[in-house]
């Protein structure tokens, strides 16, 4: 597995498909590794794309990153992604992402239009319940654990234990962060998840969406999906001029059922992702 140093940390990535293909980067949900969307990547590669899979810092095999220089974790990921695309010499790339990966793709398109060819989004998180629940999943347990037991307790949390198993450098990297600084960074990143008027998605002011000039397609969310509400999907559609809503490739309730399944098995809930291959292939061939 190749890796490349960005912002002082190694970022693990993989490239699938023909070098002459249309460049596409896939960013999955959660803090999941790029491996989670490998089967989607293979389908896109078979459809003529050159596909970048990557492990975001704090997810998968990459080095962890915690710093106040980014206002949210997704901003850190977007900065990492644009540097990765540049280092690989890819030029404008179709950014495709779901859930947290959708957030990263949106911020990348806003802040780094020069690396953005097109934007394809599914499962965009937003709204009160979803944002509060993201704060719980990504931030709050880390702050309370650090405050109670210091960084030694943090590295014993299942998530960080797994990051260390996947990449032993993360042991030292995590322990090198002073406890106060870790809490400070996470409190800053927590702010992004506070439901805020004028922020359809966590940590991004609505007016910034006007900066997105890349052609954009958004998969319609299921109206029963609380994690990725239909209203958020329609808000983002309204905020990105010229963006198009495409029909969902999934059955109604597919997300809810996959999510419930993942909670039972402990696996990730994104086993549906390969289904978005056909609309992405169509989108990358258009224009």
């Amino acid at each position: 597995m190749p890796s490349i140093e960005i912002n002082g940390g190694q970022v693990a990535y993989d490239v699938l498909g023909d070098d002459a293909g249309v460049p596409v980067v896939l960013t999955p949900g959660g803090r999941a590794s790029g491996e989670l969307v490998r089967s989607l990547g293979e389908r896109l590669a078979a459809g003529g794309a050159k596909v970048l899979l990557w492990d975001r810092p704090n997810g998968g095999r990459s080095d962890v990153q915690f710093s106040r220089r980014w206002p949210s974790e997704a901003h850190m990921h977007a900065d990492t992604l644009q540097q990765l695309i540049r280092e690989l010499g890819w030029g404008p790339t179709l950014l495709a992402g779901g859930s947290s990966g959708g957030r990263v793709s949106i911020i990348t398109a806003i802040e780094y239009p020069e690396v953005t060819r097109k934007l394809f989004l599914w499962h965009i998180a937003g709204g009160v319940y979803s944002s509060m629940s993201l704060a719980c999943g990504y931030i709050l347990g880390n702050i309370s654990t650090a405050r109670q037991g210091g960084m030694q307790a943090v590295i014993e949390m299942p998530e960080w234990k797994q990051r260390i198993d996947q990449n032993p450098r993360n042991h030292e990297r995590l322990l090198a962060i002073p406890q106060d600084e870790f809490v400070e960074v996470l409190r800053l990143w927590l702010d992004a998840y506070v439901p805020t008027p004028g922020q359809a998605i966590p940590g991004v002011s609505d007016e910034l969406f006007a900066k997105i000039v890349a052609p954009t397609e958004i998969v319609r969310s299921d109206k029963t999906d609380l994690e990725h509400p239909l209203e958020t999907c329609l808000q983002v559609n309204s905020l990105i001029e010229g963006s198009r809503i495409v029909d969902s490739p999934w059955a109604e309730n597919a997300w809810e059922e996959a999510f419930a399944r993942s909670r039972k098995t402990g696996g990730p809930p994104f086993d549906l992702t390969a289904d978005v291959a056909p609309p992405i292939i169509e989108f990358l061939r258009d224009g």
Binding site: M132, R147, A260
Partner: protein, 312 residues
């Protein structure tokens, strides 16, 4: 343990102290019951000095019947507490509480002034981190379970299965409410915890705190306490006219050190609660004129002048 039916649910309570003592209710924090460490020793200390202390398992805690209604969980508890005090003939009483019990107490004094002779609060939660955390402790896991497996999955969560073990009626009460019924309430209660301008206390408009007429004492939050910030206690003092602010009876970093100790398996964060007995007794035994209240700020006693103008 005695119980009494209020708003269609049994509320378990206990009374410590002489029948002719000055009535006070002490509400604990978290979703803990009345046997949480620190609470009974505090009640006994107050009883020794002549107070008649009501302890109660707030609905959704201990062995009381669960209750799901109201603008927030604390609004529901405030309404239950007001009726409980009246039915026990203990109203008006000193309404005292810490952390979630502080929220319950504040709303009781605000919405049910007839039962509150004084208001005393400590460890008041506020600010982004604390409120987000409360949402994620009290509401999000239940919603997540409801979304994934309906009411049956919610019943299996440790907190609710413990409520059923403590009181088997709670099984049917929750089942009767059903997936959609519980989800509606949980979404409403979640909304209260979303940090908002103009709402220091979750779900309470700042200006409504001005309605609190009972003499109020606020025990200040520790300087670095993220769960019960100093800033929240200072803002609360500004919002409750004539209220007095006193230094905490524990070390400035008492809460943080107690969290660390609890993580190591040594003690409970409420172990130090009996220390609030002294300020409670001092404040409760003063004359009820707000103008005579004494501020203990930075250990120095200063009188709090109060013009009658701010009541009109």
């Amino acid at each position: 343990m005695p119980s009494i039916e209020i708003q269609g649910g049994e509320v378990v309570y206990d009374i410590v102290g002489a029948a002719d003592g000055q009535p006070i209710v002490v509400s604990t924090g978290g979703r803990f019951d009345m046997d949480v460490p620190g609470l009974r020793p505090l009640a006994e200390r107050l009883a020794q000095d002549g107070m008649r202390v009501l302890l109660w398992d707030r609905p959704n805690c201990g062995a009381s019947d669960v209750q799901f209604w109201g603008a927030s969980e604390s609004h529901m508890r405030a309404a239950v507490l007001a009726e409980l005090l009246a039915r026990l003939g203990m109203a008006p009483a000193v309404i005292a509480g810490g952390s979630s019990g502080a929220r319950d107490s504040i709303i009781t004094a605000m919405d049910h002034p007839e039962v509150a002779s004084r208001l005393i609060v400590w460890s008041t939660s506020g600010g982004i981190y604390a409120l987000m955390r409360l949402a994620n402790v009290y509401v999000v896991p239940t919603l997540e379970a409801l979304n994934m497996g309906g009411i049956d999955a919610a019943l299996e969560l440790a907190h609710w299965s413990d409520r059923i073990k403590a009181n088997p009626r709670n099984h049917d009460r929750m089942l009767e409410l059903g997936t959609d019924g519980l989800r509606d309430v949980m979404h409403r209660w979640l909304g209260a915890y979303v940090p908002k301008p103009g709402q220091l206390i979750p779900g309470v408009l700042d200006e409504d705190l001005g309605r609190i007429a009972a003499p109020t004492m606020i025990i200040r939050g520790g300087e670095l306490d993220l769960d019960h910030p100093k800033r929240t206690s200072l803002e609360l003092q500004c919002l409750i006219g004539g209220s007095v602010l006193v230094d905490p009876p524990w070390p400035e970093d008492g809460w943080e050190r107690s969290l660390e100790a609890a993580y190591r398996g040594e003690g409970h964060p409420f172990d130090s609660w009996p220390l609030v007995a002294e300020p409670i007794l001092r404040f409760s035994q003063q004359s009820s004129q707000k103008t005579s209240a004494i501020n203990f700020v930075d250990g120095v006693a200063v009188p709090t002048p109060r013009t009658t103008g701010d009541m009109t």
